[in-house]
Symmetry: C2
Subunit: 226 residues, 2 copies
């Protein structure tokens, strides 16, 4: 009697993690550090990247730009004269609200990994699902705009909990909004005690060098291991 | 010979739509109009609702509050002395980034539908997936904050395309940001020609009466049919 065993993948995240490891191996072989950059829509990821790329000297950076549709951010970043690859989740991936390891894997052949020290993956603007999917990154950064209110860490804890650094952006708007910065910091610490936070105003360049230094340190750390 | 036909549900959205119809039937029986209110995180849905509920006279309103976790918005709205039911997507629904028809269905027994003219469903803050799932609503409204930039309709077209009204919020911040309102209106019209737009500043009450009138008109339209 012939018996067939059917293995059930109990969790789609298992499959994702398997592919994330494969991505990780490719990144390691190329000696490239990878940062997964996440935020809500309009928090200022792209503006922060524009300002940061202008400051990052001595680190060869590439960007993988994730969006549901269009290439608006890629077009902005291409002007910075860095390699930019656009990854759209619609069509092809059903208009997904996040990047997963497999989507990133399909984009790898388009990236000049061997010529990079650092790859920044700008995820789809969303505070929920991007946090659930590892893509093979070394570190995770998120941008949180003060215009979004102090309660976001409590309402989207997984995103804040899985990040290595939280950049609090649009500080220039503080005088014009009802916002308690200490309360936001308290809420961030409540869901991710000890996580590094940075204050920034990407629009006018404030705090950009701190983020730029952090990116360089991630690239240096990984480079030293390669 | 016995042959079994197996029907394949080709699209999870089919199942969602079947349940959305069941919700719709229950809403019709109770004569309650339903508005699905959506936005990115921190665009100001709850503040707009607080201000609106204070103005809505003669319409009995209830709120179904969707969040991944916590009851922060419910607690705020309960102070307005309207029936509020909290619906969390985590745990129970895997921390989903949106409400679907089945989640709403599980919450219906907790809602005093027969005592309401209007139910506002405040969806999870997300510009992608909430737009994909009908929950049995009569109309869809979205809040778009000027701090999010002019490009959001182009990057998240389904959300803007499936809405009956777009409330452009935080107008009070216009003098302090780099933002072109005409460009946003142009981009909204590009993905949803002729959609109704409203300018608002929920923080100081500007434009709230227009949204309040729109909600009352939806309730009146459905009430007249009941």
């Amino acid at each position: 009697m012939h018996r067939t065993k059917v293995r059930i993948v109990e969790d789609a995240l298992d499959a994702n993690n398997t592919i994330a490891h494969a991505n990780r191996d490719d990144f390691d072989r190329a000696g490239v550090a990878v940062v997964n950059l996440m935020s809500a829509p309009g928090a200022g990821k792209t503006t922060l990247l524009e300002r940061t790329l202008a400051q990052l000297q001595g680190t060869r950076v590439g960007v993988l730009e994730g969006d549901v549709q269009g290439s608006y951010d890629s077009d902005r970043l291409a002007a910075m004269h860095v390699p930019v690859t656009q990854l759209n989740t619609d069509p092809g991936f059903g208009g997904e609200c996040h990047l997963d390891a497999n989507m990133v894997r399909t984009a790898l052949p388009a990236l000049p990994l061997d010529e990079l020290d650092l790859l920044v993956i700008e995820n789809v603007g969303n505070l929920v699902c991007p946090a659930e999917f590892r893509v093979g990154e070394d570190a995770r950064a998120m941008v949180c705009s003060v215009t979004e209110g102090e309660d976001k860490p409590l309402k989207y804890p997984l995103m804040f909990r899985t990040c290595d650094v939280v950049v609090i952006n649009k500080l220039d708007l503080l005088p014009h909004i009802d916002f308690d910065l200490d309360k936001l910091l308290y809420n961030i610490a409540a869901v991710n005690p000890g996580v590094q936070t940075m204050l920034a105003s990407a629009r006018n360049g404030g705090g950009v060098s701190q983020f730029s230094d952090w990116l360089a340190s991630v690239a240096g750390r990984v480079g030293a291991l390669a």
